[in-house]
């Protein structure tokens, strides 16, 4: 039986290692987990750096939910409950994992990436990790050898749907774009060609999380006035997504798997997603009903052209993708149950 606030006198202790925020997959995941689980656990957020505790953005993510922030060194010598770290790159090398374990926490680790972090394999061998969480079966398979013998759990990703309300949109100039981490590998090497050869008569391209390193990949290309290349955090994600009619998300050959957090956020707002085949996208949408999954370039082009020319279709899919994301992908109760199980010992 899962021990929750409803069936226990004292709420279980949950220590979240990392920094919740609204930019970046791991930070957002922590922020949304706090909202999802703060009734079930007494949550303490444990950042690895002291400076974070005073940051306004950090406080905004924890204080409204009765969650406190504290460095590990300031916590009692003996700790109870669970310690959860999500994609915290220094978790192992800083000695935090070993220390947390030594103080009595059950350690739960969620890597989120397709590669191990420094010190992660050694931590597994040392027996520091009591349970490993995966966002997908594909990821679990990639880590199967390294985590052989460690109990695992598939949790997926939770996104608070209230942060991404649906909105009707019809830009005067058809606007397509994308939002992702500011990582050059998130963009396909033919990215500007990909958008421009869709063959739209008049379109605007908006991209957020554009950096010098991303730009460098495309030195051969001249970005015309139809392009708006915004740096990371230039706009709140919601405002950015509202500005797009369609979320066109080619990934390229360097990304082995994308869970698609940005895609789900887009769906919630009603921004119609057009995504590549593979990855986890078939679990997020049904092609033609609440988004589009394309394999070949000609399919991308046909799909985007159809959406460009057919506003009623765009509007219909916009509503359907938002409803689907809200009811099935981001259903708080379903996610809460999964997480309670994943964090119970």
């Amino acid at each position: 039986m899962i021990e929750t606030a409803e069936n226990s006198n004292a709420r279980a202790q949950l220590h979240l290692f990392g920094v919740p925020g609204l930019i970046g997959g791991a930070a957002t995941k922590l922020a949304h987990l706090i909202r999802l689980l703060h009734h079930d656990f007494t949550i303490t957020v444990v950042p690895l750096a002291a400076g974070v505790l005073k940051e306004r953005d950090f406080k905004k993510q924890i204080e409204p939910f009765g969650v406190r922030g504290c460095l590990l060194r300031d916590l009692p010598k003996r700790l109870e409950g669970v310690g959860l770290a999500v994609c915290e790159k220094d978790f192992f090398t800083s000695g935090t994992a070993r220390e947390a374990k030594a103080r009595g926490l059950k350690l739960v680790w969620s890597n989120e990436m397709m590669f191990p972090f420094k010190g992660e394999a050694e931590a597994v061998k040392e027996g520091l990790i009591d349970r490993v969480l995966f966002v997908s079966e594909f990821q679990a398979k990639a880590f199967a050898e390294m985590y052989g013998g460690v109990p695992s759990f598939l949790t997926g990703n939770y996104i608070d749907p209230d942060d991404y309300a649906w909105r009707e949109r019809q830009n005067p100039v058809f606007t397509l774009g994308r939002l992702s981490r500011a990582d050059p590998t998130k963009y396909p090497l033919d990215f500007p060609v990909f958008y421009e050869e869709l063959g739209l008569k008049e379109a605007r391209y908006r991209v957020m999380a554009w950096t010098h390193d991303v730009q460098k990949q495309y030195r051969w290309h001249r970005f015309g006035p139809e392009w708006e290349l915004l740096p990371e955090k230039k706009e709140p994600a919601l405002k950015f997504l509202y500005s797009l009619d369609v979320f066109v998300y080619p990934l390229g050959h360097r990304i082995k798997e994308s869970w698609g957090r940005a895609v789900v956020e887009a769906m919630l707002t009603g921004c119609v997603p057009v995504v590549p085949a593979g990855h986890q996208f078939h679990k997020l949408m049904v092609h033609g009903e609440n988004g589009f999954i394309c394999q070949e370039y000609r399919q991308w082009r046909e799909t985007v052209r159809e959406l460009y020319e057919n506003y009623p279709l765009r509007q219909k899919i916009s509503r359907q993708c938002a409803e689907h994301a809200r009811e099935h992908l981001c259903n708080p109760e379903q996610h809460r149950r999964v997480w309670l199980e994943a964090l119970s010992f």
């Binding site: 051969w220 390229g252 070949e296 082009r301």
Partner: protein, 282 residues
């Protein structure tokens, strides 16, 4: 013999943007031609001049060649053709052009091409794609390699659309994409080698092409029938080549259907054995 500018001297690679709108892109032809290929290259340039082509030809070679800007080629291994990529990276990248148009030495110009760079579209690389590997129903061996295995490897390495086979006798690359093309092509070649597949420069370039072009159909050979084709089937004779402007039926040895082309530039692989074929254009 000229020397390639040494690294560190400002050249186009220091610029930050592609050619601004309204300004014509600068390009040159280039090749590597030593030994008997030197004479072929001289012939290629002669036919170009005769057709009214006055762009520069930059050639890595072992002796001065008439009509060419020449650079020392030194000794190089020709077996897999990768020297084309190595010379692109260490040589051409130092020259002040926006685009580099590779031509095999056994190429002739029948006319002045209208717009050599047009097939690029918005892509930084153009290699004419010749055979749709995804449409093959049964495996074939081409240049000692299984085409099914090549197709599978292209897929595994991220080619999402139909996978195509191409040659390497004619291709165009943007100056600022040289490093990317080199890394993609060599990376693919290494992957092929690791998996026991013999892949030459054509497969490697074809991979880079299909990763960088978004829309492969825009780069099919038949999409640009006026520009370039290779007479792989040996259909052209001296009389035809002398006529210059006539259309002919291009066919890849692996394709069942022929396509009518009237290219300004023709690759004549048979001219190595029958030099009179290439010289007949003069």
């Amino acid at each position: 013999m000229g020397e390639l500018p040494v690294l560190g001297i400002p050249n186009i690679s220091d610029s930050t943007d592609a050619v601004p709108p309204g300004m014509k892109a600068k390009y040159c032809f280039w090749s590597v031609a030593d030994g008997p290929y030197g004479a072929m290259m001289e012939n290629c340039v002669r036919t170009a001049r005769e057709a009214g082509v006055f762009k520069e030809f930059h050639v890595l070679t072992d002796r001065p060649l008439a009509g060419c800007e020449c650079y020392d080629a030194f000794q190089f291994e020709k077996a897999n053709g990768l020297f084309k990529l190595h010379y692109l990276k260490v040589g051409m990248s130092r020259l002040n052009f926006d685009y580099f148009v590779w031509l095999d030495a056994d190429t002739v110009f029948l006319r002045n091409p209208v717009d050599v760079l047009a097939p690029l579209g918005r892509s930084p690389l153009h290699v004419p794609l010749e055979v749709n590997l995804s449409a093959l129903n049964e495996d074939r061996v081409w240049k000692d390699s299984s085409l099914f295995r090549l197709r599978d490897l292209l897929r595994e390495q991220g080619v999402m659309s139909q996978a195509y086979l191409c040659g390497s006798a004619f291709w165009i690359v943007h100056h600022d994409a040289i490093d990317t093309v080199y890394e993609l092509a060599l990376g693919f070649w290494r992957k092929a080698r690791e998996s026991g597949l013999i892949a030459g420069v054509s497969a490697a370039l074809g991979y880079a092409m299909q990763i960088l072009c978004a829309n492969p159909e825009a780069h099919l050979l038949e999409a640009h029938p006026e520009l370039w084709a290779s007479d792989d089937m040996g259909r052209l004779d001296e009389t035809f080549v002398k006529r210059k402007g006539a259309a002919w039926a291009w066919q890849h040895p692996l394709r069942s259907e022929a396509i009518e082309v009237r290219p300004a530039m023709v690759h004549l692989p048979r001219s190595k054995e029958s030099p009179a074929l290439a010289i007949s254009t003069v």
